[in-house]
């Protein structure tokens, strides 16, 4: 198009005539005059003097500009429409699964179906400045750790599980601790885990709800410690102590109307570093006691078991004695019964026979035998070895 106009426009010295007004026209009423101006231009170059190169670019430039502008205006229009569409569509928003949203219409929460909170899904709000969408994270597990009851420790020491050097006393400005019900000092740390269940309360009623939770943790720790004797808090009733901390925290959350729900939380209690040795000694004394008691129990069971065994043995011995007696008597009786007929035939002879037989057996067994004749002076002198050696005796009957 511009190439087409180049030649006829070239000779025309339209410099003062066309350029000024044409330019102005182009700018002001681009759409209306563009078609009208075009035929006007070819009509103008009636004048001679073809070689005027500077004029050509001017005219062509104006034309190009007008064209460019025209096309850019179309683009702008399209863009504008797109923008309006985008603007209206921008009111559509999604709420993630762990989010809740609240629409503020002119600053005031919009209530839908009795609730101001919008759950996960696709929602619509008017664009600014009518509506404002506020999204809030909920259901995430959050943590609030108490700070009031623990000794001063740097994060690096904490990470290394290192315990800082202890002075003779605790400087209350630097070191945290809790005073127990019996006036002792312990270190307590509560780590409260919670979920935001009512985000409207938590985010819209509190500037810094997390800081309130930390304060609650601190208060709960001090509150519980102030009622517990040191031994209960440290060892005897650790679970009860924890429950006390948590129930206090729950009560405060309710009282402050914070809109959160506590999850199972931890409470750690330790003795102060300054007296740790004493507590350790108590622990080892307890171990010692348990040891001596279990030793005693071992002794007791051993003794009783041995006694039971012994008792069984003694009873068995009694049993054996009985049996032996009964058996032997029975045997004697048997023997008697068998000897009786013989005896009755000639008692005197039988008696002597038995006696002699017995003596025979006895004499054979005896190591030393002495026959003592009746001495006239009725005296008997004996000099005997304590343990007469066994040796074959010379005299045999």
């Amino acid at each position: 198009m511009s190439a087409d106009h180049d030649h006829p426009a070239g000779p025309g010295d339209a410099k003062p005539h066309v350029h000024g007004p044409g330019c102005g026209h182009d700018h002001d009423h681009d759409h209306d005059h563009a078609p009208a101006g075009a035929p006007g231009l070819p009509a103008a170059p009636a004048a001679p003097e073809p070689p005027t190169p500077p004029d050509n670019p001017v005219d062509a430039g104006a034309q190009a500009l007008s064209d460019a502008l025209r096309s850019s205006f179309i683009i702008v229009r399209v863009l504008l429409v797109a923008l309006i569409v985008y603007f209206l569509a921008s009111g559509v928003f999604t709420v993630g699964s762990q989010e809740r949203a609240i629409i503020l219409r002119f600053g005031e929460p919009v209530r839908r179906d009795g609730s101001v909170e919008l759950g996960p899904g696709l929602h619509f709000a008017f664009p600014y400045p009518v509506d404002e969408v506020v999204k809030m994270q909920v259901d995430l597990l959050q943590t609030a750790q108490s700070t009031a009851g623990w000794y001063a420790v740097t994060p690096e020491q904490e990470a290394d599980n290192e315990v800082p050097e202890a002075g003779p006393s605790l400087n209350p400005a630097a070191e945290g601790y809790a005073v127990t019900g019996d006036g002792n000092i312990v270190h307590v740390r509560a780590t409260l885990k919670y979920r935001i269940t009512e985000p409207l309360k938590f985010f819209f009623s509190f500037l810094d709800g997390a800081a309130v939770m930390t304060n609650i943790a601190n208060n709960a720790v001090l509150f519980a410690a102030a009622q517990y004797p040191v031994d209960d808090a440290l060892r005897r009733d650790v679970a009860g102590f924890r429950d006390k901390v948590i129930s206090r925290a729950n009560a405060l959350i309710l009282a402050h109307d914070l809109g959160v729900t506590l999850e199972p939380s931890d409470v750690v209690t330790i003795p102060p570093r300054q007296v740790k040795g004493g507590f350790d000694a108590v622990l080892s004394a307890e171990v010692e006691r348990a040891k001596s008691v279990s030793e005693a129990q071992g002794y007791a069971s051993r003794v009783v078991n041995e006694a039971r065994g012994d008792a069984a043995a003694r009873i068995n011995a009694g049993e054996t004695d009985r049996n032996r007696l009964v058996q032997s008597v029975a045997a004697e009786a048997q023997k008697f019964a068998s000897l009786l007929p013989e005896y009755q035939k000639n008692p005197e002879f039988f008696r002597r026979r038995l006696q002699t037989e017995t003596l025979h057996r006895v004499m054979t067994n005896a190591t030393d035998k002495f026959f003592l004749p009746l001495s006239p002076d009725d005296q008997l002198r004996l000099q005997l070895n304590r343990e007469p050696p066994k040796r074959p005796a010379a005299p045999t009957p």
Partner: protein, 313 residues
């Protein structure tokens, strides 16, 4: 120009209207309260969210303030209890702007730091007063379930609430003890006492362990003695049964007591004189009487003297 004019005009008018509306209207969000000032003087407080009207600048101006609960902490300071003990207490406070107009005029332009400075004074005096009315045991005691602890907190809160609201337009919503401590020098004494208590505890445990062990051992010994005594008794009874049973068999001997006695005697004799016995016999005992009467008594002579036999080895 003729076709577009009405649309453009309408558009322009709309924009103009919007601009004007924006000049006259302002939003207060849910989290805010606002004060409208007319020529610098607080004239209208707004405590509810929504759209509100105002005259444009420079006639009226709007100052928006946060209506959410703000946290504030007092200083950790020593306070005397009613029974004259030093206690360090720090409280935390949650407060909101309840009367924006009053708040705005009391603290230049609704300055929060200035408000906190005032609050600090209120907290300190209320805290000192309340602590001074209660003994040390109100804070720290194994009895009472913490009711007195909470009561002191409530007392401090009530004192602050009254002043803060009527004089400064601040509502103190919540208050709690955040830190509780003893003076530095006292902690040292507490540690001494704790150490002494621990030592006592160690001694007690030792004594307890010994005592329990002794109890267990002696109970076991007792039990052993009882078991053995019972066993002995039973054994004796069993033997008695045996005797009784044997006695039945003895009935047979009744047929001829003389023979029975003889057998028993001989048995006894045999049982008594076992191996390695030394016998001293009267030569008249049969069958050795044989050695005496006949002329064969020659070897009996030397053998008969015990002295010789005794000294022989």
């Amino acid at each position: 120009m003729k076709q577009t004019n009405p649309v453009t005009l309408a558009f322009g008018l709309l924009l103009m209207a919007l601009f004007l509306v924006l000049l006259f209207v302002f939003q207060v969000r849910q989290t805010e309260v606002a004060v409208v000032t007319t020529f610098g003087k607080a004239t209208r407080p707004i405590t509810e969210p929504g759209l509100n009207f105002k005259w444009p600048w420079p006639i009226q101006k709007v100052t928006k303030l946060d209506r959410r609960v703000q946290n504030f902490e007092g200083k950790f300071e020593e306070t005397l209890t009613a029974d004259g003990r030093n206690l360090l207490i720090m409280v935390y406070v949650g407060w909101t702007i309840a009367d924006p107009a009053l708040f705005y005029s009391r603290f230049a332009g609704g300055s929060i730091p200035e408000a906190e400075r005032t609050l600090e004074g209120l907290v300190r005096s209320a805290k000192n007063a309340a602590v001074g009315r209660h003994p040390f045991a109100a804070f720290v005691s194994t009895e009472g379930g913490g009711e007195r602890f909470s009561a002191v907190e409530q007392e401090i809160l009530a004192t602050i609430q009254k002043d803060a609201l009527s004089r400064y337009g601040m509502e103190v919503r919540l208050l709690g003890i955040k830190r509780l401590g003893l003076p530095d020098s006292v902690t040292e004494k507490v540690f001494d006492r704790m150490r002494a208590e621990r030592n006592k505890e160690v001694e007690r445990l030792k004594a307890e362990g010994t005592e329990e062990a002794i109890k267990l051992r002696s109970a076991a010994d007792l039990e052993r003695d009882r078991i053995l005594a019972e066993a002995d008794a039973q054994a004796t009874r069993i033997r008695g049964e045996g005797d009784a049973e044997a006695a039945k068999s003895f009935a047979v001997f009744q047929q001829n007591p003389e023979l029975a006695l003889l057998i028993l005697k001989l048995n006894a004799l045999e049982a008594t004189l076992g191996e390695r016995t030394t016998l001293l016999l009267d030569p008249r005992t049969p069958p050795f009487d044989l050695l005496q009467k006949g002329g064969v008594s020659a070897p009996a002579g030397p053998e008969g003297t015990p002295r010789l036999s005794g000294t022989q080895p």
